[in-house]
């Protein structure tokens, strides 16, 4: 798993590349935690290259849902492969996380 972060004025982008499983989920957790510490209010997660997500990976997203709701931080996922999206959907996370198709959409949501 490769995680690259990219900060712009309006949002903070995290790009996921590879499998997000028990061994790599800590990387994502660190990336998100760092962003919060920096005071970011809009996180965009680029999932175009995300091949697979395990329950541990889902656990990372899940653990921030309630915190973000309280701190009014936005987290938008985009570019999910069908297979990956299905995992989110079956677990019911599609209702809790903002999941959009493209980066443009994601940026727009972030700006609102």
């Amino acid at each position: 798993m490769n995680i690259t972060t990219n900060k712009s004025e309006a949002y903070f982008q995290i790009e996921l590349d590879g499998d997000l499983d028990a061994s790599s989920c800590l990387l994502l957790d660190n990336a998100i935690a760092n962003a919060i510490q920096e005071g970011e209010k809009s996180l965009i997660i680029d999932c175009k290259k995300l091949q697979y997500i395990s329950s541990a990976g889902l656990g990372v997203f899940m653990s921030y849902i309630q915190d973000f709701e309280e701190s009014k931080t936005k987290m938008i996922l985009f570019g999910l492969a069908d297979k990956v999206y299905n995992v989110f959907r079956i677990l019911g996370l599609d209702e809790l996380l903002k999941i959009v198709d493209s980066q443009e959409e994601a940026i727009q949501v972030a700006k609102i």
């Binding site: 329950s55 541990a56 656990g59 899940m62 653990s63 849902i65 079956i90 019911g92 209702e95 809790l96």
Partner: protein, 678 residues
């Protein structure tokens, strides 16, 4: 056994031959019986050879660790023989002889006794020296000695030629033996193995042996031209060669010993080093405790390099002290010295250092009162892993030479290996304990799954479960609420391994508490979510599906909390479909909002309908190219085998799954239940 017989035979033969010579003398002198000269000389040769053979056997079979015991043997035999000989002379002196004839006879007898004792002394010395010369022998010395020994024994026959020891003939006969003897006498490897004290003892013994040797030799020369002696027993190459050999040998050994005296302390030290090293190796292979290795290391190092003090610190991975051993130095002083070293940016744990005069380096004000001058610092490491440091101190300025540093290095590297081994063994034990714990967890987990699934005659049920790890997070359970109401639950705890298994245990507790209450499926989920919110870690969640089966009304109420949708095969329509419904996994939202994300669903079944519920391990199982097994393949298998028994269907699913993945070792836990409604 046979050698013992030979030994006795030789002794008897020696005594007999000697007595015969004496008897012949008597006959010749008193009874004027002429005996052939040849007989006496033959008996004499036999006597020589047999005595030598006796000692060859006697000394040859002896095993003595200490060389001085050999020398002691030579001295003891020599001393007793010379004493006996002197004693007899003294006794004879006391008895006055009246008749000339008597005196001559007595003189002859004394002479014979004397010669016999002398031969005993020579034989013993000869074979003892054989042992010493052949110590650490090589092939060449061994064969040279063989030739020498044969020559010496052959020379015993020279007594047939009654030549004077000063004659040229005699000299020529003795020369090769003497030269070979000198050559062999220089094989003095055993001298190197004596320590200082033993060398002095050896010198004393050899001086005494020399004296005995010369005393005997003097007697040979005294009687050399004595006409009253009828058979001159010693006036031949054999005895002279032996005397010469012993004499030369003793002299050379004496000189070598004397020259070796000053260096013996060096040898002793080297020997001590080897012994310490061996002790260290032994303590490693014997599996002594870590502490013993530490002790052996510091003590051997201090002894070998003659350090005045030292300390050894062993650190763990975090750099904290695991052991600290100090010798002849207070901890306070260690602390002060370390402080000085630190101020000088000397890192004692990573690089070796040698400081000739620690008092001369900067910031050394506080250690001026200490007696230590030179410091040797050698870190312990194995495979680049730092293990600790050994520090040796001397009161001397520049007290460590290269050799000392080298030997300390070899000690340290040997000990490092041992310490590293101990760490590996500890890790292995830790690992073993961990596996043991996992085994227990697995046992516990196994007991969490229901043993019997036969709870309702209107349902045919088959379950399959396999954990990827020793313990898994898949959970299913069944509860008979009433005659016609059976509740089935299937769940998957996020993650796997021990923590998943414990969460699964909690889930089982929650299930069995809530299932007793008359709840609807979504109420069950809301309460379960509440309960789990309190006990799951922040990143853990559980997916769960619950089915309330009413076999009276052929109706199933169910709720799906993030779990894989159930697969339903409708017998009448021959239709297979997934039961999708809205539902969020448990533990994701841990407040009242959860109610908004869960719903109850319902379906009515016909007799013969099948329901397959499963965990995502099956769906996500992938083949070597990374393709997932997926929902569609599962659906096809169920469709194709819907007529089979639930057990057979289960076998078909597993077979299809393994065929697809190409292995039966899947990365995730996978479980499924097949329910046929009757």
């Amino acid at each position: 056994m046979s050698s013992k017989i030979f030994f006795r035979f030789y002794i008897i033969l020696a005594i007999l031959s000697w007595l015969s010579i004496c008897a012949i003398e008597y006959f010749q002198y008193y009874l004027y019986v002429q005996t052939p000269d040849l007989l006496t000389r033959s008996l004499l040769s036999i006597f020589y050879i047999v005595v030598f053979l006796v000692f060859k056997m006697q000394v040859g079979s002896k095993k003595i660790g200490n060389f001085n015991e050999y020398l002691w043997q030579v001295f003891a035999v020599g001393g007793s023989t010379i004493l006996i000989s002197l004693l007899i002379k003294f006794l004879i002196y006391l008895i006055p002889f009246h008749k000339m004839e008597d005196s001559i006879l007595w003189e002859n007898i004394i002479y014979h006794i004397n010669t016999a004792l002398m031969v005993v002394f020579l034989a013993n010395g000869f074979y003892v020296w054989k042992k010493l010369i052949l110590y650490h022998k090589n092939k060449f010395t061994y064969s040279a000695w063989g030739v020498f020994e044969v020559l010496v024994l052959l020379s015993s026959f020279t007594n047939f030629f009654n030549s004077d020891i000063y004659s040229v003939k005699f000299f020529i006969a003795t020369l090769p033996i003497t030269l070979l003897g000198i050559f062999l006498s220089f094989n003095l490897k055993w001298v190197a193995f004596l320590n200082y004290k033993q060398k002095w003892q050896s010198i004393a013994f050899i001086v005494l042996i020399l004296i005995i040797n010369l005393t005997f030799l003097q007697q040979v020369f005294v009687y050399r031209l004595d006409t009253t002696i009828l058979v001159n027993m010693a006036n031949n190459t054999f005895t002279i060669a032996n005397f010469t050999f012993l004499l030369l040998n003793c002299t050379i050994t004496l000189l070598v010993l004397l020259f070796h005296l000053p260096t013996s302390s060096v040898f002793e030290k080297k020997f001590g080093e080897v012994m310490s090293f061996q002790k260290l190796s032994q303590s490693i292979s014997m599996g002594d405790s870590k502490e013993e290795v530490y002790n052996v290391l510091i003590d051997s190092c201090i002894d070998t390099v003659m350090a005045d003090a030292g300390w050894l610190e062993i650190n763990n991975e975090q750099g904290k002290y695991e052991a600290f051993l100090n010798r002849d130095i207070d901890e306070i002083d260690v602390f002060e010295i370390k402080k000085v070293l630190r101020k000088n940016n000397i890192n004692i744990s990573s690089e070796p250092h040698y400081i000739k005069d620690v008092k001369a380096i900067p910031f050394a004000d506080r250690i001026q009162t200490l007696s230590y001058r030179s410091i040797l610092i050698i870190p312990l490491s194995s495979n680049n892993q730092k293990l600790g440091t050994l520090i040796l101190l001397k009161n001397l300025l520049d007290g460590f030479d290269k050799e000392m540093v080298d030997i300390t290095y070899s000690f340290v590297s040997q000990a490092s290996l041992a310490i590293k081994n101990f760490k590996l063994v500890n890790d292995a034990i830790e690992n073993e304990r961990y596996h043991e714990e996992r085994k227990i967890a697995k046992e516990v987990q196994k007991s969490l799954l229901p043993e019997s699934l036969m709870l309702n005659i209107n349902i045919e049920l088959h379950a399959f479960s396999k954990a990827a790890d020793e313990v898994g997070g898949d959970y299913y359970d069944i509860f008979k609420f009433s005659e016609h109401k059976t509740i089935i639950v299937i769940g998957d705890v996020s993650g796997n391994g021990t923590s998943a298994a414990f969460n699964m245990a909690q889930m089982k507790g929650i299930f069995h508490s809530l299932v007793q209450l008359e709840l609807s499926p979504e109420e069950f989920m809301i309460l379960a979510n509440n309960a789990l919110s309190k006990c799951l870690e922040k990143t853990s969640f559980i997916t769960l599906s619950i089915f309330y089966i009413d076999t009276l009304n052929h109706s199933v109420d169910f709720a799906r909390a993030g779990h894989c949708p159930a697969l339903l095969f409708q017998h009448q329509e021959q239709n297979c479909k997934y039961l999708h419904s809205k539902g969020l996994g448990l533990g994701i939202i841990r407040n009242k909002d959860y109610a908004k994300h869960i719903q109850k669903s319902n379906f009515v079944y016909q007799s013969g309908d099948l329901m397959l519920i499963f965990t995502d391990g099956i769906i996500e199982a992938h083949n070597p190219t990374g393709e997932e097994y997926g929902y569609d393949r599962l659906k096809i298998v169920l469709q194709n085998h819907h007529q089979a028994t639930t057990k057979q269907i289960a076998d078909e699913i597993i077979a299809d799954l393994y065929q697809f993945t190409g292995t039966n070792l899947l990365a995730d836990d996978y479980s499924f239940l097949i329910i046929r409604f009757i």
